[in-house]
Amino acid sequence: MPGTPLPKMTLPKMTSRRRKSLALVAAAAAVPLVLTGCTDNTKTPGSSASAGPIQVTSNKTECKVSIGSVPSGNLSFAVKNEGTEITEFYLLAEDGLRIVGEVENIGPGLTRNLVVTAPAGKYTTACKPGMQGDGIRAALEVTDSGNKTGVDADFQKLVDTGVQQYTAYVRDQTEQLVTGTKAFADAYAAGDATKARELYAATRMHWERIEPVAESFGDLDPKLDAREADLEPGQEWTGWHRAEKDLFPPAGYTALTATERAKIATQLVSDTEELGKRTRTVVLPADKLGNGAKELLDEVARGKVTGEEEIWSHTDLWDFQANVDGARIAFENLKPALAQKDPALATSLDEKFAALQAELKKYAKGDGFAYYNELGPAEVQQLAALVDALGEPLSKLTSAVVL
C-alpha cells in the first residue's frame, strides 16, 4: 500500500503509550501484512485500546513480567520499581548479551515505560535492583505477529554512518569557525569596523550551525554567545554580542576603546579555539543528532523568529539559515536509517525543510540576507508558521530512529 500514511508516525510521541498495549499488539496479529516497513499497529481499526502495557514489577528479589509470550511489533513495558533501591530493566536478545532496549535509573516507587520494536524471537528480560550484577532474568518469547519489523540488519550501520558524517560536519564547521573568528577578530581589533561588520554574520553562521554542540560546553557558551540581557550583575560581558553592540551601536552608546576591543577580540579567539579543541573529542550518539536538530529549530522559534538574537545588527536571518542548515544536516545524516523505520516521517521532513528553505531564500541578498527589521509582520508570521510546521515533526525524529 504505497502512499498509505503510516501510523508509526504517531508512535514516538508516546503520549498514548498506556494504550499501546499487549492487546493491541495481539490484535495486530490478525491483521494481514499490508503496511510494509511499518511495525506498529496501535491504530489498527477494531483493536482494543483498553489493556495496558506489559507490566513489570521489580523489587529486591523478583522481576515479575506479566506475560511470557507476546506477538512481535512494538512492545511496551511499564516497569514499576517496588523495591527500595534504584532499579533498571533490560530487554536482551536471546544470547543474554545484546541489549534490545533498556530503561535505567528508576527510583523506588516510580514506574517508567520502555517501548521497543521487537521482531519475533527469543528474548531475555532482566531487572537489576541496585544496578548491580546480572540482574534477575527470565525468558520472553516474541511470536511472529505477521508484521515485518521493516528494519533490516544494516539499520545500526546506517545510524552509525549518519553519526560519523555528522561528527565530521561538526568538526568542519568548528574549524571554519576558528578561521573565520580570527579574521573577524583581527579586523575588529584593528578598528576596521566596516570589514568586521561584513564578517560578523557570515562567521557566526558556523557557530549557529553547531549551536547545540557548542552549547553543551556550559562554560564556553556564555563567554562566546551571551546576550546583554543574559548577564547577571557584575558578570563580564565577552563574545560575539559584545562586539555586535560595539559594531552596530544603539543611540547614545559609547564605543569601546582600542584596548577594550583588542581584549574582546583576543578572548573571542581563544574561547573559540578552546571550543574547537573540545569538539574534536565530542561523542555524538544518534539521539544527540536528533535532539540537536530539534533544538536548532527551537532556537529559531525562540530567538531568531522574534528578532531577539541579533538585537543590534538585525542579522537574525543569517543565524536562522544556519540553524536550519544544522538541523537539516543532522536530519539528512539520519535519513537513511529513518527511511527504514518511518519513511512517512522522512518524507514529511523533506517537504517541510524544503518549504522553509524556499521561504528563507526570498530574503537572500547577495551573500547574505535582508536585515530582520526590514521584514513586515506578515513575512515574519509566515516564517514562524513554517518553523512550527517543521519543528513539530522534527521533534519525533529522535524516537523514530532510536526506538
Binding site: 527510583g107 516507587g109 516510580l110 540581557a229 547577571e232 550583575p233 535532539n291 512550527d388 519543528g391 521533534s395
Partner: protein, 472 residues
C-alpha cells in the same frame, strides 16, 4: 455578590442574592428582615444626607458573615453618604474575612482565579493618598463580603447618574474574594526624592530587584506604586473588584499593568490538591502551607525590621510577582524524559525522580547508573529546594495565564508567579539568581516579561485602613 446594595435577608437570597434591577432605592431599614442596620438614611451619592458610609461600615459580616453591624461615625471615610449595610447571612462559606491580623489572600487557601493590578499614584498629596486608601478599604470590605460598592450600589441610585457599582457581580456570591494590598518602592521615592512625607519609611527589604540573567522585562508589565491582588473562585468577581477599585482611584492612581490568571498553580493549604501548571506538571507540592504557622513565621511574615521607620511592616509580608512566559510550543516538542529531567519530578504522579510519591521528600544525593543524580543538577526542583537555598522557603501563590497569542501563532501563556516572603533579599533574590543562571528550564523554556516587588502591610482592623501603620 449581592444584587441589592442594601442587603438581603438570608431567606430572601440564600444563594447569593438576587438582583433587583430597577427596584427603587430603599434604605436598609426597609429591607425586611435586615439585621441591625445602622445608618438610617440612604442618601444619593450626589448631595444626599450624609449617613454612615457603606464604605465606612465595619460589619461583623467581614468576620463571619453574620448580619450584626458595628457603626462608625457618619461620613468617616468617603464623600459618599450612604447607608449602612450588613452582608447577607448565608454567604459565610463564600466569604473570606477581610479584617484580621494579616491580610487575607496570603495564606488563604488559593482560590482558582486571579486579577492583579499595579497602580501608579499620580498625585503627590499625602491626604489624597490616605483618602484613597480609606475608600479602597471600605470598598474592599464590601466586595469581599459579597456586597456592592458605593452609596447606592449598582441599581439603586439616581436614574440620571451612572451607578456607583459597575454591577457585573450582581447575583454572584462573594466567591471567596480576597483583596490584598501592597506598596511598591515607587510609593516611597520618585526620582530619588521621597514622596508623601514617607522619608525613612521604606523598608530595607523593599529593594529594587536586580537584573536577573535572561530577564526580558517590559516596562508596561513591571513595577507599580501599589498592587492589589484580587483572588476569587469566580473570575468575574475578581475582575469586578479590580475594576471598581480602579474606578474609585481615577484621578489619583492609574493602572500600570494588570494580569488575569486562571488555574492556581500552588496549594497553600493541605486541604487542597496540587494543581498543574501549563507544562502539565504538578506545581506547589512542596509549598509552604497555612497549616505550618512556625514555618510561616520563619519564611513569610515580616518582622519589625531594624529601624523604627520600618516597624509598620511587622506582621506583613513581601509580594514578588513575575510574569513568566512559557515557550509552550517548544516544550510540547520535548521528550517526556527531558521534561521530567528538567523538572526533577514525574509528570504523572509528581513524585521526585529519586522515588516515592508526590509528597516524598526529594533525595538529591541518590545517584543513578552513570553516577549522575537521579534528580539532575540543573533541575528545577533541585535549584528551588530549600536545601539548595540556605533553607529558605517561600509561599507561592501563582496562577496560569494566557493572554491570547503573540501574533506568531504561539500562545502568550505561562505562569504568573506570585510569592510571599519574609525578606526578598534572603528569600527570593538568591534563589532566582541561581535559577536564572543554572536552571535549564528557565534558560530554554521560560522568559520573564514582568516583575514587581511590594511591601504588603499587616492586616486591617475594623475602623482602620490599608497601610494605616505606614502613615501613622
Amino acid at each position: 455578590m449581592s444584587g441589592c446594595p442594601f442587603n438581603h435577608h438570608p431567606a430572601e437570597a440564600p444563594d447569593g442574592g438576587t438582583a433587583k434591577a430597577g427596584a427603587p432605592a430603599v434604605g436598609p431599614a426597609t429591607a425586611p428582615g435586615t439585621p441591625a442596620p445602622v445608618a438610617p438614611d440612604a442618601g444619593s451619592a450626589n448631595g444626599g444626607k450624609r449617613g454612615l458610609s457603606r464604605r465606612g461600615l465595619f460589619s461583623l459580616a467581614g468576620v463571619g458573615g453574620a448580619g450584626a453591624v458595628a457603626g462608625l461615625a457618619a461620613g468617616y471615610l468617603s464623600h459618599d453618604a450612604v447607608a449602612a449595610v450588613a452582608a447577607r447571612a448565608g454567604t459565610g462559606s463564600s466569604v473570606v474575612p477581610f479584617y484580621g491580623e494579616r491580610q487575607a489572600g496570603i495564606i488563604t487557601p488559593a482560590q482558582d482565579r486571579l486579577h492583579m493590578a499595579a497602580f501608579d499614584v499620580t498625585v503627590e498629596d499625602r491626604a489624597a493618598l490616605i483618602q484613597l486608601l480609606k475608600d479602597w478599604t471600605a470598598a474592599a470590605e464590601a466586595m469581599t463580603a459579597g456586597r456592592t460598592t458605593g452609596a447606592t450600589g449598582a441599581v439603586d441610585g439616581p436614574y440620571d447618574a451612572p451607578p456607583d457599582d459597575t454591577g457585573e457581580a450582581l447575583d454572584l456570591a462573594a466567591g471567596k474574594l480576597t483583596l490584598t494590598f501592597g506598596f511598591g518602592p515607587g510609593l516611597f521615592e520618585k526620582d530619588g526624592k521621597p514622596r508623601f512625607s514617607l522619608e525613612g519609611r521604606r523598608p530595607d527589604a523593599l529593594i529594587d530587584l536586580p537584573h536577573f540573567p535572561g530577564d526580558a522585562l517590559e516596562a508596561a508589565r513591571t513595577g507599580g506604586d501599589i498592587v492589589v491582588q484580587a483572588c476569587a473562585d469566580d473570575p468575574q468577581v475578581a475582575v469586578h473588584a479590580i475594576r471598581n477599585l480602579s474606578r474609585i482611584g481615577f484621578g489619583k492612581v492609574r493602572v500600570r499593568w494588570s494580569q488575569l490568571g486562571f488555574g492556581r498553580t500552588s496549594s497553600t493549604s493541605r486541604a487542597q490538591t496540587t494543581a498543574r501548571n501549563l507544562f502539565g506538571f504538578k506545581d506547589g507540592t512542596a509549598n509552604l502551607k497555612a497549616e505550618d504557622p512556625a514555618l510561616l513565621n520563619e519564611h513569610v511574615w515580616a518582622t519589625a525590621g531594624t529601624r523604627p521607620g520600618e516597624a509598620w511592616m511587622a506582621g506583613g509580608s513581601y509580594l514578588v510577582s513575575r510574569r513568566i512566559r512559557m515557550h509552550i510550543e517548544i516544550w510540547d516538542r520535548t521528550s517526556l524524559r527531558e521534561q521530567q529531567g528538567l523538572i526533577g519530578r514525574t509528570k504523572g504522579a509528581g513524585a521526585p525522580l529519586s522515588g516515592g510519591e508526590e509528597n516524598t521528600a526529594p533525595d538529591f544525593g541518590i545517584k543513578g547508573r552513570t553516577g549522575e543524580p537521579l534528580i539532575p543538577i540543573d533541575s528545577h526542583v533541585r535549584l528551588a529546594h530549600a536545601d539548595q537555598n540556605n533553607g529558605v522557603k517561600m509561599l507561592r501563590r501563582g496562577y496560569n495565564y494566557t493572554d491570547g497569542s503573540d501574533g506568531l501563532g504561539h500562545l502568550d501563556a505561562g505562569l504568573f508567579f506570585i510569592a510571599f516572603v519574609k525578606d526578598p533579599r534572603t528569600h527570593y533574590v538568591p534563589m532566582q539568581m541561581a535559577m536564572a543562571k543554572r536552571d535549564k528550564l528557565a534558560l530554554e523554556y521560560l522568559k520573564h516579561t514582568g516583575s514587581g516587588l511590594f511591601a504588603v502591610p499587616p492586616g486591617i482592623k475594623a475602623g482602620g485602613f490599608i497601610g494605616e501603620g505606614l502613615f501613622a
